[in-house]
Amino acid sequence: MIRKSRLVFGSVTLGVAAVLAAILLISHVWRENPLPAMALGGPFRLASANGGIVDSEQLRGHPYGVFFGFTHCPEVCPTTLYEMSQTLGELGDQAKDFRLFMITVDPERDTAALLKEYVGNFDPRMEGLVPTPEELKAVAKSFRAYYDKQPTSDGSYTMNHTAMVYLMDRDGRFVTVIPYGDTPEGRLEKVRRLLGQG
């Protein structure tokens, strides 16, 4: 009886220890390298909500961030815009070369004028991009970003979409992501790290 309970106790302890070790390891790996080095983000040429074209080739020398969103978005997109403008505000001139692009996943409803107004009041470094449906498909694929339409009862729709900011270095290479819900310190640290590179 005693031996059996010891055995049970022993294996439970071992189990708990294994789980704890796994959590520590995973959190360590996550912190060090949120996404293992991947070739995320390909070259793109997309219409800017401010007029003209943004060509990733012409972004050489500028570290930049990209996120996917839409203006009928109640939560994630405004939050991302506010949080990133706060981060850029704090970095000030340190991030003067940095650019942040919001690519709409709802080109059907998001016109350039609408997106310009939506993004425009935040920070001059932030800019909306309005792809055609085909361009959207290609750019989302290159970032491995997901989006799809969710029908609503009124015959309209809302969108599901990947909610994170991809950070790209001065050479257009993917560095890391700012996950949705990251802390102000986490955001600051990641953008600082990005600016310090290259």
Partner: protein, 157 residues
């Protein structure tokens, strides 16, 4: 990886919810066994055509109830939605069957979770003002609520 991410998001949302409750002054209404605490909304971004409403519902009764309908002065198209993050993807779902409020428990409508969705805004709510709405429950019936409009970034990190 997923676990840590989810924990971080959960923590952020808990803090956000706490801030949002602290920032406005609490106001509540009662209908039957239900208490609706601090309905609030955010001033939407320029050009935004949607808004969201949040509150806490406490069911002090012995039977479950269900929020089945919401109306608001600012929109003729009001829906009950659930937002969830799954593997970095924001997923939005309309709760066409309504939202169950279990007996003896509290359901929180808050940023990043359940919320009332005001579609096709007729007018844009402005920070510091308030707008009227109603909530209809399967058992308790219909109650009028007043949403207080907070800053566009209320309850964010």
């Amino acid at each position: 990886m997923r676990l840590v991410k989810e924990f971080a998001i959960a923590t952020a949302l808990t803090i956000a919810a706490g801030l949002s409750i602290a920032s406005g002054h609490a106001h509540e209404v009662k209908i039957g066994d239900l208490e609706i605490i601090h309905p609030w909304s955010r001033q939407p971004l320029p050009a935004a055509r949607v808004g969201a409403g949040f509150f806490v519902i406490a069911n002090e009764g012995k039977t479950d109830d269900r929020l089945i309908k919401a109306t608001a002065a600012i929109s003729d198209n009001v829906q009950i939605h659930e937002m969830a993050m799954e593997d970095g993807v924001m997923k939005m779902k309309e709760l066409t069957g309504g939202l169950v409020i279990p007996a003896g428990s509290t359901v929180e409508l808050k940023p990043g979770s359940y919320h009332i969705m005001f579609m096709d805004l007729k007018e844009r709510p402005v920070e510091g003002t308030a707008f009227e709405g109603t909530l209809t429950f399967e058992k308790a019936g219909t109650v009028s609520v007043t949403y207080e409009v907070e800053a566009p970034d209320a309850g964010m990190n």
